[in-house]
Amino acid sequence: MQDNGSVSSTLENIIGTQMNSLFKHATNVDLYSEPINIIHGDTMKKFLKELWLKSIIAFLAVFILIPQVVFSEEIRVLNWKGYGTDEKWAVDIFSSETGIKVVHDYFNSEQEMMTKLRTTPGYYDVVLINSAFTKQVQSEGLISLINSNKINNYSDLSPGMAKNPSLANNGNVYGVAWVWGVTSFAVDSTVFNNLPDTIEVLWDPKYKGKVSVRDDAVEIIQLTAIATGQDINNPSNLDIIREKLIKLKPQIRTYWSSEDQWNQFFSADEFDIATYWSGSASRSKTAFKLPVEFIIPKEGAIGWLDGLSIATDAPNRSGAHKFIDWMIDPKFYVKWDTDVGAPASANAKANSMLPASAFNRAVLGNPVKVSKVQFMGPMPDGLREKMLEIWQEVKAM
C-alpha cells in the first residue's frame, strides 16, 4: 500500500506524456489557415486512431498494472457470503498490514463447498468448513495440515473448541476453531407480543403460510429430530420425522437459501417465523435493523462449530496462516460482533471482551441455555442420502 503513491504518480506521468503528445499532434493542424474540411480528412482520422490506441493503453495500464504492483501476493478464501471473512474493513486492515490481497469465492451449501474443492484443487487457500464436515473433507485429501505455531492467537482459543476431535486429532490440526453458534429459528418481534419458547410454534396452525425454512435437508431434518425428541446425529425413527415434516409443509410459504434472501423475505413480510442461524440473526438485528428475535426453544437447538482450514496445495500457505491468525484475533472479532453481528467466538479472550449484554455472552455464555444444544457431529453418507430423499419427497407434496 505504501507503494500506492509512487505507482499512481508514475501512471500520471505516463498518461500525462500520452496526453501531451496527443495535444501536440492536434495543434500541428493549423486550424486557422487550412479549410475546416481538412481536419475531417486524413489528419483527423489519424488523430482519432491514435487517440483510440493511446486511451486503450492508458486504460489497460490503470486496470492491469495497479493491482499487480500494489499486491504482489494474494490469498483466495472460500466461505458463505457475508460471513466475516469478507467484511470490507477487516480485509482492508489485513491487506494494509500484510500487503496481501484477499479474493473471495462463495458457496451456498457444504456440498457446493466440497465440489469446489474437488474440482479446482490448488486454487483456494483458506476455506471455511463446518466441523461436522471437516473429517470427511480431510479424508478426501482436500485440506492440509495446519502449523498452529504460525498462528499467534491459537493459544487463546478455548481448549474445548480448539481440540474438538473433528478439527484436531493427536495434535494434527486440520481446522482452526473460529466461531460457533446455534441453528434454531427466529421470529418477527412485531408479530409476537410474547416470544415463543417452543419449536412447536413452527407447526402452529395460527402461522399457516407464515413460516419459512432453509432449503437444506440435513438442517430441517435435524430440527425436526429435536421437535420429536431425537438425537440429531443419529435419529432413531426417520418415519416419525417424515410424518412431522409432512405436517410442516402446508405451514411453509417459501424456502430460503442465503442470509440475503432471508432478510429480503423478512422485510417484505413474507414470513413471521423462519429457521435461522444465531450469528445471522444478530447481523439482521445489528446491521440491518430488522425486528428479529432469535429463539432457543425448550426442546433444544442444533449447535455448530465452524473452523478455518487450508486447502491442499494452497498457492499461498503462509498468507493463509496469517489470514486465519487475523480471523481469530479478538480485535477483529469484537468489532465484527458489535458493528455487524457475529456468532460466538471460539477465542475465549475475544468473547470476554464483548459487552455483558451481548447475545453471544448473555445467552450463549449461559450454561443452562446451552445445555440443551445438541452439537452437529460427522454423519455417514447413507444417513445423509436418506435425509435428502425424505426432504425431496416432502417438498414434492
Binding site: T119, E270, A396
Partner: protein
C-alpha cells in the same frame, strides 16, 4: 460442382459441404450430451478421491419413488397450462398484428413484443418479484387507491409462476404465429367471404388450419423449455415451486448428485420426445 479429392476417398459434394455443420453439432451438442449420458450411469460424480462404478440405480430410483412421477406429471401439466395461455393470448395478438395494423404501428408493436427479449430472463423474473411481493408495487397501488386495502402478495403461488412463465415465453408464440399468418393469401379470405362465410367460419376453417405450422412451432418452442423450467418456479413459486426442473437443478447445484440429475434429465428428454412424436402424428392425421 466437382471436387478434387484424393482418389480413394469419394465424398459427394452435399455431404462434404454439410460436414462442418455436423462437426459443429457433434462438438457442441452430441459430446456434452454423451458425457452427461455417461454420468447418468455412474454411482457418483467422478471428482476428487472417489471411485465411482457403473450402475442403473439412478434410473431405477425414478420409477421406485412415487414423488418423481408426481413431479413429472406436475411439470407436464405446467407446460400444457403455459402453452395454452400463450396461445390464447399470443394468437389474437399475432392476428391483430397481421390483419389490423399498418406499417408504422406494426413496427412499433413488434418492438414492444421483442423488447423483453433484450433483457436478461433473471432480471425479468426478479422485477416480477418486486411487483408481486408483499409491500410490492401492486400493494402500494391498491393502498393508494383504497387506504384500507391492507396487504397484498401474490408471491409464492401457482398463478405467480404462470404469470412469470407466460410473460417470458409469449413472444415465441406471437412471432411464430405472425410468420405463418402473414403467409396466408388474402384472396383466399376474400373468396371465403364472397361465398358467404362468417368471421368465425373463416377463423376456424381457414385461418387456424393455415397457420397451423406456426402454432405448432410456437407450441414446441414453449412446451419443451417450460417442462424443464426451474428458475421461474423457484423464484416465484416458493413452496409451491417444486417441479422436476427444480429437483434436477438441486441435484446439480445443491446436493451435487450429478448422476441422478443427469438420469432425471434423460428421462424427461425421452418423455418429451415421445409426447412430441405422438402430437406430430396426431396433427398429421388432422391436417
Amino acid at each position: 460442382m466437382h471436387l478434387i479429392l484424393p482418389k480413394k476417398i469419394h465424398i459427394s459434394p452435399p455431404l462434404f459441404l454439410t460436414t462442418p455443420a455436423y462437426l459443429w453439432l457433434t462438438l457442441t451438442i452430441f459430446l456434452p450430451l454423451t458425457a452427461m449420458l455417461f454420468f447418468s450411469f455412474l454411482s457418483e460424480a467422478p471428482f476428487g478421491n472417489r471411485d465411482p462404478y457403473l450402475t442403473l440405480e439412478n434410473y431405477v430410483s425414478f420409477f421406485q419413488k412415487d414423488f418423481y412421477q408426481d413431479l413429472t406429471w406436475r411439470s407436464l401439466r405446467l407446460g400444457l397450462e403455459v402453452t395454452i395461455l400463450c396461445f390464447l393470448i399470443g394468437f389474437p395478438c399475432a392476428l391483430v398484428l397481421t390483419r389490423h395494423t399498418s406499417n408504422r404501428w406494426r413496427e412499433a408493436l413488434f418492438i414492444l413484443v421483442i423488447l423483453p427479449f433484450w433483457s436478461n430472463a433473471l432480471v425479468r423474473i426478479f422485477s416480477w418479484t418486486m411487483i408481486l411481493r408483499g409491500k410490492g408495487i401492486i400493494e402500494l397501488i391498491l393502498n393508494w387507491m383504497n387506504p384500507e386495502y391492507g396487504s397484498f402478495s401474490m408471491m409464492f403461488s401457482h398463478p405467480a409462476i404462470l404469470l412469470g412463465l407466460v410473460h417470458s415465453y409469449l413472444p415465441y408464440m406471437i412471432l411464430t404465429c405472425y410468420v405463418s399468418l402473414q403467409a396466408i393469401d388474402e384472396t383466399l379470405i376474400e373468396a371465403a367471404r364472397s361465398l358467404g362465410a362468417g368471421r368465425m367460419m373463416i377463423l376456424w376453417k381457414l385461418i387456424i388450419p393455415l397457420s397451423f405450422p406456426g402454432i405448432s412451432a410456437g407450441t414446441v418452442l414453449i412446451f419443451v423449455p417450460v417442462v424443464g423450467s426451474f428458475m421461474e418456479p423457484r423464484i416465484l413459486g416458493g413452496s409451491e415451486g417444486t417441479f422436476i426442473g427444480t429437483i434436477i437443478e438441486d441435484q446439480f447445484v445443491k446436493v451435487f448428485n450429478w448422476p441422478l440429475g443427469a438420469a432425471l434429465s434423460f428421462i424427461m428428454l425421452a418423455l418429451v420426445m415421445v409426447i412430441l412424436l405422438v402430437a406430430y402424428s396426431i396433427s398429421k392425421k388432422w391436417t
